[in-house]
Amino acid sequence: MAVVIDGLIYASWLFLIAVGLTLIYGVMRILNMAHGSLYALGAYAAASLAGWWLSAGHAPLASYALLVAAAVAVGLVAGPLIERGVLRFSYGRDEIVLVLVTYALFLVLEDVIKLIWGVDPYFVSGPYGLLGSFEVGSLSYPVYNLLLVGAAALAGSALAWALRATRRGKMLLAVIHDREMAAALGIDVGRVYLVTFTMGAMLAALGGALTAPTVSVVPGMGVEVIVLAFAVVVIGGLGSPQGAALGALIVGLVRSAAVHFLPEVELFSIYLVMALVLLVRPRGLFSAPEARRI
């Protein structure tokens, strides 16, 4: 039971980060290595904003709204800045070159974070303890974790709704499906790119912002997150939001099972699962067959 609950909590967290990554890949064919830095940016922004709010003695419940507001702000600032400022100059190059561009961005952003916030850790544990805890059997869990699960479910269903039911969303799906055809039908692909990258950045920042109260926000916190999110989206199938959900669940459950039963393998159990999945289904669980080049 504890395994399932821990797994679910961890999976929600992973989903928030991975879904943005897979969305960006699906639309733009960019495997965004800077995603972890956007996550860290979200965490720092949330920690400073909520920390300032709480220390000024305002109503503590509003700090939850501030966490989300910080994430939205980071997405709106960093997303367009990166997409318009850097990425658009390298569209049309090889996928691997684009990975390297985002790797360079990752290096730059890591230090930008240090320049803005310094190297000392930030703590903003207020929102974490505020809601108390609930008990399952003999174990107690902070209610905040439920909030995290709820946020992931909400983000996931909002995204699913937006993609299926709105005009913009359908245009986005069309670009995922066939970029050239979509462009030929009059969809402004450049605009779709900008919107997608901003949304992806916002989701990564949201993941970071909601994590901020549970950890100490330190430099380098985005480094490990990137490879975890990679594992999730690769398992699920690159570019597929449903895949990200399934991948997050699998990775979440595997990790919590590993932590409970065999702590020695915790670190690499995730990558082992990823390797196994790719061996069985070379392009991930949700993936479209690709035409062969002749």
């Binding site: 690499f268 990823m274 070379p282």
Partner: protein, 313 residues
């Protein structure tokens, strides 16, 4: 084809010059060049793969495997000769690659990159959890003899430098000959069109596998040399950021010549050392910006500056 060409001459002159000037170099520069050349070997391996259109984000796997093989041979099996240890490291890396490469040889593009990254992270996870090998701290390695010659004190560093230069010379020469051979020329063909290579009667899988093994062997030697030069090895060598650094240097150098990876690696180490010296908190910013500029303005790497200049003359 096998006559003594310009590249051979360039390599021989560079190696001789490095050896001749090594007594004049200050200690830090000697160390920097040794480590840079060792990393250059890894990058040379990456370039072999890139010619086949494959980018591995997991060469740290073999870099670390080589270093740990060298370390284990030195500390636990009591083999203290640097040359013997390096040879063992190459064998160990190739053995790992023989298994992993078989799994990876069917993947291309982003999936090849990510799966190789996964394998290097598996090794990282294993090393971190193995307390016999020092967990996250790693352990120290020492140089006993270099190719049978006992070198006391500081001259061990010079001995290792000479060994590194010698191995790099041989590796670059070998790679140059390989690239000119029939087998070597299949790699760009695989990148351009796999189906046609199969129609020509060659095995795409075989070509990929062979290049992967060679890359792993070079990385293993590089890892062992770097471990010996630093005198310490730790799991960080298998972490994905280390692999990312190698890919960066490969892009920085470009694939113009077998000498390019070594020039690129030295340029990178110098850039990083100075960036780290003058702004310890923003060196990644400097490196990242340099990388963006190279990707955007010099798509064929630093070596293209050299060839352009030679062509203009």
């Amino acid at each position: 084809m096998s006559r003594f060409g310009r590249t051979e001459a360039l390599l021989a002159i560079s190696a001789a010059a490095l050896l001749a000037f090594s007594p004049l170099l200050p200690k830090w520069a000697l160390f920097l060049v040794t480590v840079a050349l060792a990393k250059g070997l890894v990058v040379l391996g990456l370039l072999l793969l890139m010619r086949a259109g494959l980018v591995s984000f997991g060469q740290g796997l073999y870099y670390a495997a080589g270093a740990y093989a060298a370390g284990i041979a030195g500390q636990m099996l009591r083999i203290s000769d640097a040359a013997a240890v390096v040879a063992l490291a190459a064998v160990a890396s190739c053995a790992v690659a023989a298994v992993v490469g078989g799994l990876l040889a069917t993947y291309r593009g982003i999936f090849f990159a990510m799966l190789s990254l996964a394998f290097s992270m598996i090794l990282y996870g294993l090393l971190v959890k193995t307390s016999a090998l020092g967990s996250t701290d790693g352990f120290n390695v020492a140089i006993g003899t270099v190719a049978g010659v006992r070198l006391p004190g500081a001259s061990a560093r010079t001995g290792l430098f000479a060994l590194t230069v010698g191995l790099v010379f041989l590796a670059a020469l070998g790679a140059h000959r390989f690239l000119g051979s029939h087998l070597g020329r299949l790699a760009p063909a695989v990148r351009d069109n796999e189906l046609r290579v199969e129609y020509l009667g060659a095995s795409v899988r075989g070509v990929v596998y062979l290049n992967y093994l060679l890359a792993a062997g070079l990385s293993g030697i590089g890892g062992a040399l770097a471990g010996l030069a630093v005198g310490h090895i730790d799991p960080e060598m298998a972490y994905w950021t280390t692999s990312g650094e190698f890919v960066f240097v490969a892009i920085l150098s470009g694939s113009g010549s077998v000498a390019a990876p070594f020039a690129g690696a030295i340029a990178f180490e110098v850039l990083r050392s100075f960036a780290y010296e003058y702004s310890p908190n923003t060196w990644q910013l400097v490196v990242g910006l340099a990388m963006l500029l190279v990707i955007l303005f010099l798509p064929s790497g630093l070596w293209s500056l050299f060839t352009r200049w030679r062509r203009a003359r």
